[in-house]
Subunit: 318 residues, 2 copies
């Protein structure tokens, strides 16, 4: 952390929202009396599972692509991802009328590949190791001249994800706490920036799986400790926190609470049964953290970002 | 059909809506570009899966209970049901501050019993035959003096279910067709009344499972043919059409389209995957019927009522 990153300002985030608004959904906020009763507080769920491509990732990818100059756009964009960022970037590129190259591990689920292809993305397969992904991406960038858009450790992506909390604040609710899950830290970082700019006294608290708790451990140690061998049902949160993301977290996030897979599954089931919506396991992590620490949130107005709804229906843990 | 039933008028339906509004959700209408593209028309899904007790049944039960005189209310209400009507009636009674007696077959799912108890309903178990249910109900009514509120073959219940289509029309959409599933015919009857009163040229079309196709066969034969041995994954549509309901259907419904269980499962999966919402199999029947008969709906604005979201998550057919 020798170089100080210039974080996006509130004006930057508002401009990002203007920029991407035509290409994303303004997702609804849902509430559930039944869950409030169980939780002992008032929860406002921001439903990014209803977002384009089924996840908040549509925001950051759209913002990053729209901010490219025409020269940069000329050769398209590239990334490596087996998850929601892959589809989000392919879609953003398609909307912008440019090419996208997505490096995916050969064992990525067919449905993820289909989504990328559906948006006109070109898939380059590689063996399923991080090293192969990075080498293959380098080759693709070299060959095509495409701009690499990383999934989270990238200011324009964080700025895009920050628009989700902006929409929440525009609803006029006086949140005591806003919660998001943390994987790479793009959503959490953006949420923290927006929230602390608008309402410095509102707490920003993350939920993280015990089996991928690098953010929590790094937060406590005040230095970045990458995750080795993560293992959790919350497959969207396996990645380690990014560098820029960690800087923002250290400055603006109040706490990171960890939960077990069993607690994640119970919170997930509660959301399916009581709210009748489809979410991926990662989404249930903040609610699980809240239910595990009820006394911290008693009587509060809590905003929870449900990050996405791309789940393999044949493998639900119920 | 010797006696002519007095169907609820549009004014009756509007009054019912006023009456029950404080006790029900105004459910949202959702759309999906992806499904529209597949279907070749514009579909507006009315999400009664987000309704109180997780189904449109909350409307009819609330209306029937609120319309009782104080004398009638004194001894409470009773019904026999293993499904959504049981919870809906228990809840309506609880809101009205009166007792409810629910006759349930001993093999009813625990979760359904729990829902009834959660609303303070008194469960009276019986052996799982229709005869036992009816006899037990008679005994309960005799013993307690409670008023029997049937699940669908009852004008005040139909009037309540009719408020769902009323909310759809209030959105200002010029529907060419409105679709609902048909089981007992409470929702379909109410939907047909409201729609034909407001927009006589709009078609009202029902979807029905092939394995419980008494409404379709009765409709063609122009006489009520009860179902024997129904078998379908759409467990909310196993019952035979009621008498009053059939009168309304013959007068106001344009067509009843049948679909196989496989077609129901495919439409259900489409709704889970593309719309990220939880529905019960019965809900998917109209969409399945539309997708099977695309040419009938080409380019139209179609309203589809998603009737409920109470599904056993451990038994999803994916």
């Amino acid at each position: 952390m020798n170089e100080k990153t210039n974080f996006p300002t509130l004006e930057d985030i508002k401009a990002a929202h203007q920029r991407i608004q035509p290409f994303i959904h303004k997702t609804p906020i849902m509430t559930s009396e039944a869950i409030d009763k169980i939780a002992g507080c008032q929860i406002y769920f921001k439903c990014e599972n209803f977002q384009k491509v089924g996840a908040f990732k549509a925001r950051g990818a759209a913002n990053a692509v729209m901010k490219l100059t025409d020269d940069q756009k000329a050769n398209g964009v590239a990334t490596h991802s087996s998850g929601n960022h892959a589809a989000a970037l392919a879609r953003a590129a398609s909307v912008a009328g440019i090419k996208s190259y997505i490096v995916m591990p050969s064992n990525a689920p067919e449905i993820k590949k289909k989504a990328v292809k559906g948006y006109g993305g070109e898939i380059i397969e590689c063996v399923p190791t991080l090293e192969a992904r990075e080498t293959t991406l380098e080759e693709v960038v070299k060959r095509t001249g495409a701009v690499f858009i990383p999934p989270y450790d990238y200011v324009d992506v964080i700025e895009g994800q920050a628009t989700c909390a902006l929409e929440m604040w525009e609803e006029g609710i006086a949140f005591d706490t806003i919660m998001a899950p943390v994987g790479g830290g793009g959503l959490l970082g953006g949420t923290a920036l927006t929230t602390k700019y608008i309402s410095p006294n509102t707490k920003v608290i993350a939920g993280e799986p015990e089996g991928a708790d690098d953010a929590s451990r790094s937060f406590k140690a005040k230095k970045l400790i990458p995750m080795v061998g993560p293992k959790t049902i919350a497959d969207g949160l396996l990645t380690s926190v990014g560098k820029i993301n960690f800087e923002i977290i250290m400055q603006y996030v109040d706490d990171i609470l960890t939960v077990s897979d069993q607690e994640i599954i119970e919170a997930m089931r509660l959301i399916y049964e009581r709210m009748k919506i489809v979410i991926e396991p990662s989404c249930a992590v903040p609610l699980a953290a809240l239910l595990k620490n009820k006394e911290k949130f008693k009587g509060q107005k809590v905003g929870i970002i449900l990050s996405g709804g791309n789940v393999d229906l044949g493998k639900l843990p119920f």
